[in-house]
Amino acid sequence: MDKQLDLLQGTLDMLILKAVSLGPLHGYGILLRIQQISKDRLEIQQGSLYPALYRLEHQGWIASEWGESENNRKAKYYRLTAAGKRRLLAEADNWNRMADVIAGILGTKPEEV
């Protein structure tokens, strides 16, 4: 397994939005899903997930309600709101463009300058 990468500043929000866009999840589920999709290549501080969740809820991008987990416990499930969907699209778009630009810069060879 490759060495785990630290999360870039500000990307956790986007990952959470993406994770819950695939269906409602509780906090632990979100963590698992991000790790699963990233094939365990991302290191996420378990605790840092919750302030991010609350911030997103505060901003109205995700909404929560209590439900029952797979192991029959009470758990709080988060789902994407309409505003969150728009936000995710905007952030993903931003991210992709930024990644292109950065990749372009890093890929520059001396003779191209």
Binding site: H26, Y28, E57
Partner: protein, 882 residues
């Protein structure tokens, strides 16, 4: 959406705090337990799995704290902390707090009081059902015109009323003079008002023969009918005519005015052509029918106006109601007061600005002493926004305290205001302090706090960190906020100058008004209205001989040297007019005959009032027979209608009369309508007739509501008693009312300008006091900051004179710049006052000069104590000062 979710999140975070906490707990526990279970399924023992899960999760408390922050809990906690800290700071500086709160209370209180007037009179909906649909038609119509309008208008339900009627109430103790309104049958239903007792008029109740009903006001019912409900259905005698009481209106119903005591229905009788088409021209109100709009009603009324002129039995002048329109009733009712109220609001707005500037200055001075505290807090990691927020919280707290005290001041102030304003100000009773006014005050206080807090907060949060910490406790860093403080002091002086000039102009105008020669002498003149029933005066000879007998008996009373009667007392607020034909002066076709102010008097009237006869002769007792008919004209009338020649010997005739009257003399002009005008603009001249059976009004009656005027040494109550007993010997059904000295009549006629002047003078005084303390504050701060410098200067050989100059220079600078700005501003806006001014220009140089001098004197006064303190600085002490 986002705002809503934030609010909900705040709500959950604060109000439902404990629930949020337990939910957060449960959520985090679920996470850790799930993680532990996953670890256990990998073969780990339970205790070990739980331990590892907790380690992996990280610090629970830190997560929770960050979670609270993310949910906005801390916003409120910080706020509470700020409030707590702010209150402590305010308690620690009681001097500052008291001065600031008092200053703000004055500013906010004045604004609250005036706003409650504006709200009650201009803004609050009328106390009628669906008031937004109520309109007023800007024009007046006689009965015939109104009846046509009622039949034809599609967009409006209309009602007409006439306010200026008076009725003798007899048969119940002493006869009483009541003021009443005569209204069309729809009056109450159009307004959507119901009586508290009985019922309103029914449609058709204003037709001739069906009109013997009366509705009482609540106060009349209480004061004279013992609030007894059995009055319903009973008859009362008004003007000798018995009318059945069908209703009592509730106390809040005060339309057309607060004076109205009875409402009678109109008497629409088309056979009485003169009364039907030329009687009272009445205002008309209306209610928009469902689906119609104001523009629609305007268009319709204009079309109606073009038709209605043709209905009259005689040609109407083309300009009659030419600019007719439909406006909201609320605006129509208060059109006259509106501009005056806005002036007052502007004035108190200025006072609040001055108060703000004052407190901002105080806060700046204090901020300077708090530089260190703030520097320390910044050094400890406080963000600048956080410091600003703290300081703003403090100023808003101050302002709210000021607002609280201001409300108490305003409650008192509103009583004074109501007493100072003329009693006939429309809707005055509607003004009171309620939640609308309180929310205005609350908003104003917060705004005020932000306004005066912002500058000091920005200023002190900027304070350079190391500089303040390094500087000796009270270093020489004088300049940081000095410029800002000077600017504020200058603004204060300028605002105060504006108010002083406004007050000065109003005083000059009022003095000019008081110096107007009214054309008569009010000294030692007593007046009283003596008013037999119209029905009694239906026989003119009986009426004339009643007054004649009354006068001869009154003249015999000890203390009365002469007595007379007049139909319209000068400045008494009533108008008597007649159309007059002048010999050899043909009226061009299509134009109306000139309208004359008609004074009907007994021969002694000119002597009692000391109105001089300029040419010819006055009336003599021989003229009282009315035969041969004679008249007097006034000087200005003579100039207008007999230019370059004497009217004496020429003839005039009342419209509708057969006989010509001979003009026998000219009397000098009298300010009959108000102190500014002899007669209203729409009246062309003034004529006097002797009181005789042929001195008739429109409608052919002799005047029956005469005012007795006496040259007398009696006081009012003596006169009232003498009159009462004399009258009851003649006719016990005749009331005597409005017994007062002529001087009171004159001063009541200027009650409006008087009240405006008094209020502005009070505001200007307030502005001066606030300005004085403001400048004083700035200068004394300056001196205390420069004590060391002054000490050095003195030690180096500066003279006390130089120190004097050092401080006075500052003061002089404030006042010079402030006064110049104020004068320039006043030049720009004083014409707003033009409508309130008489005999003085809005740019009156004398007033401007006086205001500038007064302001200079005040600023010098403000400089005095700080200067003296500076001059007493002991160089030795000052140098050891730090």
């Amino acid at each position: 959406m986002t705002l809503w979710s934030r609010l909900r999140s705040w709500w959950n975070a604060t109000v439902r705090r404990s629930r949020m906490e337990s939910e957060m707990d449960a959520e985090l526990r679920f996470h850790i337990e799930s993680l532990a279970e996953d670890l256990m399924s990998g073969g780990m023992s339970r205790p070990e799995a739980q331990r590892r899960a907790r380690i992996q999760f990280g610090g629970i408390e830190r997560v929770k704290e960050e979670g609270r922050e993310a949910r906005g809990v801390n916003f409120f906690e910080t706020f509470l902390q700020d409030v707590h800290f702010g209150l402590r700071m305010l308690c620690k500086n009681p001097g500052f707090t008291v001065v600031a709160v008092l200053t703000l209370a004055l500013g906010i209180g004045a604004n609250t009081a005036i706003f409650s007037l504006v709200d009650g009179i201009l803004l609050r909906p009328l106390p009628f059902a669906a008031p937004q649909n109520l309109v007023s038609i800007t024009g007046t119509f006689p009965k015939g015109g109104f009846v046509a309008m009622r039949e034809q208008m599609q967009s409006l339900d209309v009602a007409s009323y006439f306010e200026g009627h008076e009725f003798n109430l007899t048969g119940r103790g002493d006869p009483l003079r009541l003021s009443g309104a005569v209204v069309s049958a729809e009056f109450f239903s159009v307004l959507g008002a119901r009586p508290e007792l009985g019922h309103a008029f029914y449609p058709g109740d204003d037709d001739a023969g069906r009109d013997n009903y009366v509705i009482l006001s609540h106060s009349l019912w209480q004061q004279h009918f013992g609030a007894n409900p059995s009055i319903l259905g009973q008859s009362i005698v008004l003007e000798g005519i018995s009318r059945q009481v069908i209703g009592v209106m509730p106390p809040e119903f005060l339309f057309p005015s607060a004076k109205t005591q009875v409402w009678l229905s109109l008497h629409d009788d088309p056979r009485d052509t003169v009364a039907y088409w030329a009687g009272d021209f009445m205002p008309v109100i209306g209610r928009l029918r469902p689906g119609s709009t104001l523009p629609l009603a305007r268009a319709e009324i204009r079309m109606f106006q073009s038709r209605v002129s043709k209905l009259f039995p005689w040609p109407m002048p083309a300009d009659w109601n030419a600019d007719i329109s439909v406006v909201e009733l609320r605006n129509g009712m208060v059109a006259d007061v509106r501009s005056r109220l806005f002036l007052l609001l502007g004035a108190v707005g200025l006072i609040l600005l001055i108060a703000c500037v004052n407190v901002a200055n105080l806060a700046l001075s204090r901020a300077a002493t708090r530089e260190k505290e703030i520097a320390v807090r910044t050094a400890m990691g406080a963000e600048r926004t956080r410091v600003i927020r703290q300081l703003l919280t403090e100023s808003v707290l101050l302002a709210l305290l000021g607002g609280l005290l201001g409300i108490i001041l305003a409650t008192e102030g509103l009583h004074l205001l109501k007493a100072a304003l003329p009693a006939d100000t429309p809707r005055l009773a509607d003004a009171h302090i309620d939640w609308r006014v309180l929310s205005f005050t609350g908003g104003l206080a917060i705004l005020t706090g932000l306004l005066f807090g912002l500058a000091p907060a920005l200023q002190s949060s900027r304070a350079a960190l190391s500089q303040s910490l390094n500087a000796a406790t009270r270093g020489a860093s004088v300049s940081i906020s000095h410029r800002l403080r000077s600017a504020l002091a200058i603004a204060e002086v300028a605002f105060a100058v504006l108010l002083v000039i406004a007050a000065g102009l109003l005083i000059r105008s009022f003095v000019a008004l008081s110096r107007v020669d009214p054309g008569f002498r009010a000294e030692r003149v007593l007046t009283a209205r003596v008013t037999p029933n119209q029905e009694f005066c239906g026989d003119p000879a009986r009426c004339v001989s009643f007054y004649r007998e009354l006068l001869s008996r009154m003249q015999a009373v000890p203390g009365v040297s002469s007595a007379a009667v007049v139909n319209t007392l000068p400045l008494g607020g009533r108008v008597a007019k007649r159309s007059l034909e002048i010999e050899n002066e043909a009226v061009p076709p299509g134009e109306a005959m000139p309208l004359f102010w008609m004074d009907v008097v007994t021969p002694d009237y000119l002597r009692v009032m000391k109105i001089p006869v300029v040419a010819g002769r006055g009336f003599t007792s021989a003229d009282e027979s009315g035969n041969p008919p004679v008249a007097l004209v006034t000087s200005s009338t003579s100039r207008r209608f007999w230019p370059g020649r004497s009217p004496v010997g020429s003839h005039v005739r009342l419209s509708g009369d057969k006989d010509w009257r001979t003009v026998v003399g000219i009397v000098s002009d009298v300010r009959a309508y108000d102190l500014q005008k002899n007669v209203p603009d729409w009246i062309n001249g003034t004529i006097y007739f002797p009181y005789a059976t042929n001195a008739t009004l429109e409608g052919g009656r002799v005047p029956s509501d005469m005012t007795v005027v006496l040259q007398s040494s009696l006081d009012e109550s003596q006169l009232h008693n003498v009159l009462r007993s004399t009258i009851s010997g003649l006719n016990p059904e005749v009331p005597a009312s409005e017994v007062k000295p002529m001087r009171a009549v004159v001063s009541e006629s200027v009650s409006t300008p008087a009240s405006t002047t008094v209020l502005f003078v009070a505001f200007a005084a307030l502005a001066l006091v606030l300005g004085l303390t403001g400048i004083y504050g700035v200068l004394s701060f300056l001196v205390s900051r420069r004590t060391k410098e002054i000490g050095i200067r003195l030690a180096l050989g500066a003279q006390r004179r130089d120190v004097l100059w050092l401080v006075m220079k500052e003061g002089a600078r404030f006042s010079l710049i402030g006064i110049s700005l104020g004068l320039a501003g006043a030049l720009g806006i004083s014409r707003l006052l033009a409508g309130e001014l008489y005999g003085v220009s809005p740019a009156d140089p004398a007033t401007f000069l006086a205001a500038a001098s007064l302001m200079t004197a005040v600023t010098l006064l403000a400089c005095y104590i700080p200067t003296r303190r500076a001059m007493r600085v002991d160089p030795l002490l000052a140098l050891r000062h730090e």
